[in-house]
Point group: C2
Chain length 337, copies 2
């Protein structure tokens, strides 16, 4: 049954946008099911969390900046990051759906699986199986699964008075991409050797933050309940804070003096925009009481406070110095074609 051309013209995915698409699709699932990055599956006396991500050639990866091994690593890491940001302490593994044109070289496929396997060896879990088929465009569909620890992190658990904290610096992945593409004029921006290497590593080999989650579980003050909100910054730091606010019905304030940038970041190099909207940083972004946040920050370098949840009413994300709303200009886009 082909749809009439008029219907195709009036309301296509381009017009709807991602948020509206998710809103419309949510009627097909139990309430709140689409509100987090992962879904819970009850396995006997155990809770498993499950997550699916798609990576499409030309949208999420490109042969010019990404080796097949890195495509595989990033695909696994992106999924495992969603699990870590939802409370998974022990990954079980993942399934792989691979679409590729018939002319795709075997070495590319092999490289992708090498990258997937390397990420699983590093972080735990097995390749559980999957499916392969032909198509016009290379595409990976990864579904990862893991055992949830004592705290399931939801987006909708932020409360006024919470600190907003992150597990590491932001903007590195975007800087790495820019360096790989030759977009940064190194005569005008002094990117030191350490920052250069860190940025490219963060772009090519991002790490899911299971260690940061385990520390979080271990350092909870005994008198506090198991209540914290969390997500990862795969779609950009600002977006993750907006998501926490939107889901929790809260507002947030970011401190412009504590932007979580990597050490040595050049003064004039897209500080704010890449830190807030660079995307694909895969750090934990948490909202929790200061008494819990402080010991967690103290346990490892890179962790820091970036702001706070101000009120239990959603009025968006503002700067703490009165500059007004934090801009979504140049926001990281997932839905494009």
């Amino acid at each position: 049954m082909a749809l009439p051309e008029t219907a195709a013209m009036t309301e296509c995915l381009r017009d709807l946008g991602e948020a509206e698409l998710i809103r419309r699709l949510s009627r097909f699932a139990p309430p709140g099911q689409f509100d987090d990055d992962t879904a819970a599956v009850q396995g006997g006396n155990d809770t498993l969390l499950i997550n699916t991500d798609l990576l499409v050639e030309g949208v999420h990866f490109s042969d010019t900046t990404t080796s097949p091994q890195d495509v595989g690593w990033r695909a696994a890491a992106a999924n495992l990051s969603d699990l870590a940001a939802s409370g998974v302490t022990e990954p079980v593994g993942l399934t792989v759906g691979l679409v590729a044109p018939a002319h795709t070289p075997w070495r590319w496929v092999e490289g992708v699986y090498e990258g997937l396997s390397a990420a699983l060896r590093r972080h735990g879990g097995f390749l559980l199986g999957g499916d392969c088929t032909g198509g016009q465009q290379r595409m990976l569909a990864i579904t990862a699964l893991g055992h949830c620890g004592p705290l399931r992190l939801h987006r909708n658990q932020a409360q006024a008075g919470d600190w907003l904290v992150v597990s590491g610096p932001h903007g590195l992945s975007r800087l790495g991409l820019a360096l790989l593409r030759g977009e940064v004029d190194l005569r005008h921006h002094s990117v030191d050797r350490h920052l250069h290497a860190a940025a490219i590593l963060q772009h090519q080999r991002p790490q899911p933050r299971f260690a940061a989650l385990r520390d979080l579980l271990a350092c909870k003050p005994l008198d506090l309940p198991w209540r914290a909100a969390g997500t990862d910054s795969s779609d950009g730091l600002l977006r993750s804070v907006q998501d926490l606010c939107h889901s929790s019905g809260c507002s947030a304030e970011l401190d412009p003096t504590t932007l979580p940038l990597a050490p040595g970041w050049p003064q004039e190099l897209n500080r704010e925009s890449w830190c807030l909207n660079g995307g694909e940083d895969f750090e934990l972004v948490l909202s929790l009481p200061p008494e819990w946040a402080k010991p967690w920050i103290a346990q490892a370098p890179g962790r820091q406070r970036i702001g706070r949840i101000t009120t239990n009413a959603n009025a968006g994300v503002h700067w703490s110095d009165g500059r007004g709303s934090v801009s979504a200009g140049g926001e990281f886009q997932h839905f494009q074609a």
Copy 2:
């Protein structure tokens, strides 16, 4: 890192074929992991089975023969069928990865989710979440999950002396496709009203065989162990028997007088080829002792014996009347582009 053109020329997926591709990929997973349609995940004291399938526009579905609702239903049914054929008695649900060009009409996406939801309402389980992204071609990646009953069906458990049995007739889905495409000349082939409707229904709304599995569990003779081999006939009946033989290291004999065709199938209408290689029938294909097979067959119409496992050495699939090897001519192809 772009691959050198020479590497791309020498060994591409088209040359390898599906079996060789799976063989090569199996080194990335635990032994035997790729031998079944599903993988096991331990959830506390419970075993969950998981399965991923891809459906690509132009390969697995087309607007000319398949409404968006049917695309969704078939995607869910194909995955649930793999679960049923592996021993899942209770589906948990599925995740959906949807790739679609930006010009895709919302009504198509909505229709797909309506079909997915309808199949889940009919057979159990929930929509667990997923991901949406842009791409050149419409594509669905479905990962389904369910609770395994007391018998996990593997492909590698067939033994000489077993009967080969099926849960229903074969070739119907292929006939339905031919009728929808107008490929059957109804002046030369008498397709009665009932067969016509059944064929189109089987093509558009195939059913995973959870009821047949539940009957199988209920009718096991007490003195037999929990040992049976199984798969579904999604890639064609012959292919499923070949898979059982290959995995079990057995040979099989099919009885040409008991081809599992639907009642009223016209004498001259591709009887053998569509029954054996039509594909997408989604029936259970089981290998088990006759004492267990007989009560199962007796419990519902459509179930029947199609042949037997002859020896514990893999010499392929033969006709029982001495005609020799059962031909794979016109075999159902999954990997194409």
